[in-house]
Symmetry: none
């Protein structure tokens, strides 16, 4: 991969329209001889495959299973080993919170401690989400600021919540305020450098206040705070690639990841058709579109092979409406594989299809991981996809004379 | 890619003969379903393909379109991102000038300025090449040295020329003496470090002298100087790879690039047959041959699909004479693709054929980019080709015990 400084030098604006359609967790593994992609009846994707060039990509490195953060950063053209998205930030993005560069984000757990200060349940008996919401509302009413640092709290599921500390001079290299195991005493947030002393102090004062406010609770009478992180300092896609990018995604985390690299987030509905409609409605206004389909991954994670197949078929039926827009460059791929039989993300390479008038169409005929493995693109690092899209959009200058 | 220090350690001299046949801009894109390679009738190359192992290479990185400089450095086994060949140097090489390590090379434009010193035409109305030659002859007569720095001038086409400043302590990090846009005042060469102050001073004194000498000219009454560069400090192929390399090329730039890495430049004629004859005549005297065929690229750049096809066919007819020499290792490839439909270099990977008794011959049967994509070599970085040739020539020692 070429360095970012060179990408900036070579990239140039253009009139071409680029579409990156991501079916989250698209790649799978066979059950009874066929993968989810192979089982799916996909006449439109097969037809497109015949007119495209195909291959496989690795998200991070061969054998490495990526999370959603690195998976998407790679697709957006960034080195996922260089830009790490901390847990707190990812959690905040996942809840749809909008972070500013100075914000310090943290995951929180409601937890139970005994009268000796020993953490006896790190998840407060997995209290119902409704109870969590009430507790967070109560905390919000009573704590809005510590020093000049604004505290923003947001409920998650069961015992989980997110805290954002908004203020100046808050560095994130802080050890978790979490003993990690039950049966051990609570620990304060511990600064790992001079720069993070102030933030650790604010966090610990916050925990103390929460302890006072929750002292009457039976289960949720304390909190653990972990995964302190700030937004990574990352150049925008506009700056790096000279594109005007927009994101269409139904889930907050992917909107958050897209916002992180400077994409405009388009309002859309709940269904895949809504997303395709949003693409159509905005096609004139941007030149790069990231369209994110979540449910291939969700059903893969559930181990629901037939439902994952159905989602691929649902996308297939919408492909003609996408092609009617006549994108100059269209990539269809995944951010990682999510084989139903594994019920989790996996290390398997991602199928990729590239449709452009300037490619050497190969003889792959079916929308299938194994057919794509024989495709003309070969196997390469996902981070290169974006450059390949720019090249096909005639948006990269020649390197050297 | 392994570091140069390790290449030096592993490479060893040998008796084997290696031939790198470069069809410049070989790879293409289909018109009516067939690429230039596929359209060409190539019985000899097809036959050789059947007895070879094939694949695709990227010159610099996936999606990146290389210039001739980086394209060839990669083929010669060097990292094109590490060794940059500045514009001035490339232009000088392209005109067949021979540079020494201390030389500072620069591109020049004849230009027009008005009486207020404003550059009104950066190309002096694209004066005819003949007029350029007269002006350069006149300048040569009147300026041969400034201080102890020798000035070497050479006409290019229309308004272009090359200047070489030959002397000591001339560093190249100098900002162009060119306002880049018309309607702005002329600017002097500006040193970007202390080390280049002396060179900038010489260049500015040169420009002043030229301005005096050209003051009576209507159009070409001044010059712009840009792309200051020196030869990159690059280890020779002999040093790195323990080979005795020779280059056969009809165009000055490629002879210059070959000279840059220490190849012997063999005198040859104008035709492809002349080049193959030169190879035959010198086959005993060297052990590595770079044979450069220019016209596949030239016709690609012209958008002349049928003529590019003809050149491939012309090379095909000469393949038997090459095989009669019984090279131990033969590689046929391109330095970049030049699809006729793009009329320019492109980012598409290069077809590569490797013929050697020590390879796993694959089942590719046709000399075609798309067939090569299914070849046994897979897809890899062009910089590795040279090591692969050495390996097949049994010229690389084992790494580690």
């Amino acid at each position: 991969m070429i360095p970012e400084s060179l990408i900036k030098e070579l990239s140039q604006p253009g009139e071409t329209k680029l579409v990156l359609l991501v079916l989250d967790g698209l790649g799978g593994l066979p059950i009874d001889g066929l993968t989810e992609m192979e089982k799916a009846n996909t006449p439109n994707l097969d037809d497109l495959t015949k007119r495209s060039i195909c291959g496989l990509t690795d998200s991070v490195s061969i054998g490495v299973t990526p999370g959603s953060g690195p998976g998407h950063l790679g697709l957006f053209g960034y080195d996922p080993l260089k830009y790490e998205i901390g847990r707190g930030v990812l959690e905040a993005l996942g809840q749809g919170l909008i972070l500013s560069p100075n914000d310090l984000a943290s995951r929180g757990n409601f937890a139970t401690k005994d009268k000796n200060g020993i953490i006896v349940d790190r998840r407060a008996g997995r209290i119902p989400t409704e109870e969590n919401k009430k507790l967070i509302a109560f905390l919000r009413e009573n704590i809005s600021k510590i020093d000049n640092v604004e505290i923003i709290l947001d409920s998650g599921r069961e015992h989980r919540f997110v805290a954002i500390f908004r203020g100046k001079n808050l560095e994130a290299d802080i050890k978790d305020a979490d003993p990690q195991k039950e049966g051990l005493p609570a620990v304060p947030a511990y600064p790992l450098s001079d720069g993070s002393k102030y933030a650790a102090d604010i966090i610990n004062r916050f925990i103390e206040k929460v302890n006072e406010l929750l002292s009457n609770q039976k289960k949720a009478n304390t909190i653990l705070m972990r995964g302190f992180a700030k937004l990574p300092k990352i150049p925008s896609m506009k700056e790096l690639f000279k594109i005007k990018p927009a994101a269409i995604a139904t889930y907050p985390m992917y909107r958050g990841l897209a916002r992180l690299v400077g994409m405009e987030i388009l309002e859309t509905g709940e269904t895949i058709k809504d997303e395709f409609d949003t693409l159509k409605d905005n096609f004139d206004k941007y030149d790069f579109f990231f369209v994110h389909i979540k449910k291939t991954d969700s059903f893969g994670e559930d181990g629901n092979f037939p439902k994952k197949v159905e989602i691929i078929e649902e996308v297939d039926r919408l492909i003609p409406t996408l092609l009617e827009l006549k994108p100059d460059v269209l990539v269809i791929t995944g951010d990682h594989s999510t084989p139903s039989i594994l019920k989790s993300h996996s290390w398997h390479p991602n199928p990729i299809l590239l449709y452009s008038r300037y490619e050497r169409v190969d003889d792959v005929k079916h929308f299938s991981e194994r057919e794509f493995a024989k495709g003309g693109l070969g196997r390469f690092l996902a981070q290169n996809i974006l450059l390949l899209m720019l090249a096909n959009g005639l948006r990269l200058k020649k390197f050297g004379a």
